[in-house]
Amino acid sequence: MPMTVPPVDYSPAMAIYEQLGPGRESITSPYTALLGNTYAEICRSNFWTWRKQFEAAQRDVANLSALHPGWDSYDAEPPNELARRITRDILRILEQEAMPPSRLLPSREGGITISFAEGSRRAEIETYNSGEIAAAVYTPTNVVRVWELNAASASVREAIASIRVYLTA
């Protein structure tokens, strides 16, 4: 004989979801205040900030497929599927390494530029329509290093590590 159990309402008290304005009180205010503060902390946390940045960057890469030849007002080629795929892979590694870029742009060179800036220290990783990848670290007055890397995960991780060390030195 099947047992019947009265349904249990697991949903939290509605008041928890109330929008609280300054000075507003409710009977659940101790919990809402706690949850409100926690939620604000979560939203401010680096993890979620970076997560949003990387989601936006992945969307940006996808949107670059809409560019047409001559998109730059001169005669640049738009980033092709190869450059976009390599960039998506690099962004995934950057996310694993918790290292969000400052900017992601289509390059007039034919590809995509991933830029990093930390004070006066800067770095670029460029993926090209040819499948090549180059990186540079520099200051406003000095080019410290420019090098070529390949699309293999180890090579990209090594470049990211070098860039991180340079930017945070």
Partner: protein
């Protein structure tokens, strides 16, 4: 939208709209190619609003070889944005000097490359010029510079172009969004 002043340093609040008629100074006519560039001569380049990262032009804004620029000897910054169809409306113009173009890039391995300006006038844009390169050895056996040589050249040029070099502020991003 207001039209920016005809020349001079301009506020970033302006959005430049091309006039309907081409300025007379842009027409080449019978004028000759002028091969010599003075180091102090200004060069003008179109850019997008997202091309500045922390106050410095991104290498994404530069292509190589044959990056087109307008030479300042025979043009004004707004000539870069002239179009009967208004296709450059919302873009901006930065200036830099001939002397800002890196003269030479020497990679650790391989040939060194030299860089120079070439006046390449067009029938409707006399000031049109291009940045060219050649191997320093001058063997005539020209080979395209590697990506690392090109990137170093582009980075070194961008190091010379900050917000002070903005002559007409861009309002359009490289993906078409209006940001002003």
């Amino acid at each position: 939208m207001r039209r920016a002043p005809a020349s001079g340093r301009q506020s970033r609040a302006f959005v430049y709209i091309s006039p309907p008629n081409r300025p007379e100074r842009m027409i080449r006519g019978d004028r000759p190619v002028l091969p010599d560039f003075d180091g102090a001569e200004a060069l003008y380049l179109r850019y997008f609003s997202d091309h500045f990262v922390d106050g410095q032009l991104s290498p994404a804004a530069i292509r190589f070889p044959r990056q087109s620029v307008n030479r300042g000897l025979h043009s004004e910054p707004e000539d870069c944005l002239f179009s009967e169809q208004g296709i450059y409306n919302g873009l901006g113009v930065v200036d830099f000097h001939v002397a800002d173009v890196p003269a030479k890039v020497s990679p650790p391995q391989g040939h060194a490359y030299i860089f120079y300006l070439k006046h390449v006038p067009l029938p409707d844009n006399y000031a049109h010029s291009e940045v060219w390169s050649d191997q320093e050895s001058g063997t005539g056996d020209y080979r395209e510079p590697s990506k690392t040589v090109k990137l170093e050249f582009r980075v070194r040029l961008c190091q010379r172009i900050g917000l002070d070099n903005v002559r007409i502020a861009a309002a359009r991003s490289s993906t078409g969004a209006i940001t002003a």
